[in-house]
Amino acid sequence: MGMREYILKRVILIIPMLMGISFIVFMLMYLMPGDAVDLMLALQPDTDPAYVAHIKSIYGLDKPWYIQYFYWLKQFATFNLGSSFLSGRDVSEEIGARVVNTLSYQLLAVVFSIGVAIPAGIVSAVRQYSKTDNLVMTAALLGVSFPIFFLGLMNIFIFALILGWLPSGGAHSTVFLGKDIPHDFSYYFDYLKHLALPTLTLGLASTAYNARLVRSSMLNVLREDYIMTARAKGLKERIVIYKHALRNAMLPVITVTGMQIALTLGGAPITETVFSWPGLGKYFVYAIQHRDYFVIVGITVVLGTLILVANVLIDISYKWLDPRVEF
């Protein structure tokens, strides 16, 4: 099978997977007690029940969940994610306003993690059991041991409270909130400053893991015969490591990075809650608390698509790294 058919097949497979994901989420949502209307009227318990029933019927909430799922699916087929019970705006619009915020720190965290973990892992492997190696591995052990919310709080404590270098939460300083704010350099610089701590927190956690992975993968590769062949050719150690060893050592790292994308996107609610970050994760938690069904499913579908697309990209990069891979 050629590369093109393979990619096409994988992209087409995304559709049934999204149907499966949305079905499960629908099922789970309706297992939660109460719906959006119940919660809105929670503080007015003496509302006329007939009126409540009328409101529910407008939103279709009086139907069984599978019927509601069917309606949703019909809508979804025309790329319509429905509208929010709470704001009344389109779910796609609500998500669109937040998805960039989530992707920005998530992608930066991956770049940060790979960018730090690869050199750290290589140095550790090449100088196995040296002081540098011990230092890197101890740091990495600490990094993988801390849960992300703890790392986040520590970062806020150090960089926002003690040093005062970076803001502790949000995406913009108050002067940049409101209408008619010029999107000039100072605006983006302010955004970057706010981006720093979520990126660092998420990045550190996966850096720690990746550095250990790069090290062990590198150690395995360095024992391979072709490394000896490369040395026997008279190549410089730098070329032996960066040309012959690194590319082979990257294969497992790519696999794990692919899985990490799912994990860190799934962890977005925690990261964004810690940093009051106006992204999809925080909105997701809010939507669950208020039983904003279409928002919940909408975010799930969007995150699911991102993860599935990332996995296709990962699989393609295998082929690019390792010619032995056949699709």
């Binding site: 072709y226 026997a232 190549l235 082979n248």
Partner: protein, 326 residues
């Protein structure tokens, strides 16, 4: 005596492991004459490969270290060279082929890439000329359709073809010496013969000196001019192949021969060397072979035998078996 291309004097290579110091090479002296093939035989773990790696200074460090001795290549002590001078020698003056062609080529680069790399490095050729040279080398080692195959990846070649690629790579800078570490051990028997023939032909054509390492006495008989028999980090016997094979002096060499099945004899039982290869962290006292030797006496247990030259024939034994005919 002809000019020696390589002389190894008193070489000691130790491995510093967690369990103790492995004395892999305990003072060996070997010389290789210009243009000849020297075969090194011995059981697994006797130090054949470590000798080869020591010559190229590629013993993995840590844990390995060459702690003593001299390796004179054209009169220059390789052990005294700087790392960058040593790199000029590797792949250029001395190149090496390994036991397992399946894993000796980097799976993620094309053959073109891996061959060009060494040609560009040592011969200063441009990309185009290097590629041309790579194709010539593939043709020389008998790879059909080299123009097309040069762009293939290693996994697209069979085991024998991969070893040919390795040989092409090793010979592409016309080295003075080729170190072949069990070059045919992992190949099919028919392919083995082809590869050995090819090494022999190329050696004659290019005038390359060969250090051939194997545990296959048949291969040595076929290929070598001289043979060195190694046991537990020592060279125990050395001489012309005919002499060492037909009138060996060391009990170990004799035992090795008796362990080979022979088509012409109707022997029921093969000779066996009793015991196992010694642990080189705690090698046996005296002669390292004495616990397994049929002729061992008290002196063997206590004292390391002195090497003895009888003409061109070297042996290291208290009770050399003169008059043996095989």
């Amino acid at each position: 005596m002809a000019d020696n291309l390589l002389e190894i004097k008193g070489l000691r290579t130790y491995f510093y492991t967690e369990d103790g110091i492995v004395r892999a090479l305990e003072g060996i002296d070997i010389h290789i004459e210009q243009g000849e093939t020297l075969g090194l035989v011995g059981e697994s773990g006797c130090g054949k490969t470590v000798t080869a790696l020591s010559v190229l200074r590629l013993v993995p460090d840590p844990p390995g270290k060459i702690i003593d001795g001299e390796i004179l290549f054209e009169g220059v002590n390789l052990l005294a060279l700087s790392e960058s001078d040593m790199r000029q020698i590797r792949g250029n003056d001395i190149s090496m082929i390994f036991q397992d062609p399946q894993s000796a080529l980097n799976p993620v680069y094309t053959v073109d890439n891996q061959l060009r790399e060494v040609i560009e490095l040592h011969q200063g050729l441009g990309k185009k000329e290097a590629r041309q040279k790579a194709i010539e080398m593939l043709d020389l080692v008998g790879i059909p359709d080299p123009d097309a195959r040069v762009d293939d990846f290693p996994h697209q070649f069979s085991g024998g073809m991969k070893q040919r690629v390795m040989i092409a790579m090793a010979l592409s800078c016309n080295p003075k010496m080729l170190v072949a570490d069990e070059p045919t051990t992992n190949l099919d028997v028919t392919v083995q013969a082809q590869v050995l023939d090819m090494i022999n032909n190329l050696k004659r054509e290019l005038g390359t000196t060969v250090l051939l390492i194997t545990h296959n006495l048949g291969v040595i008989a076929e290929m070598s001019d001289h043979v060195g028999v190694m046991y537990a980090g020592r060279l125990v016997e050395y001489g012309e192949v005919d002499i060492v094979f037909h009138a060996p002096l060391h009990p170990y060499t004799i035992a090795l021969h008796e362990a080979i099945p022979k088509v012409t004899e109707k022997k029921q039982k093969l000779g066996v060397i009793k015991g196992v290869v010694p642990n080189l962290i705690y090698p046996p006292s005296g002669c390292r072979f004495h616990p397994r030797c049929d002729f061992a006496t008290e002196v063997c247990e206590k004292e390391q035998p002195n090497g003895e030259w009888i003409g061109d024939h070297y042996v290291e034994c208290w009770h050399k078996r003169e008059g043996t005919k095989l």
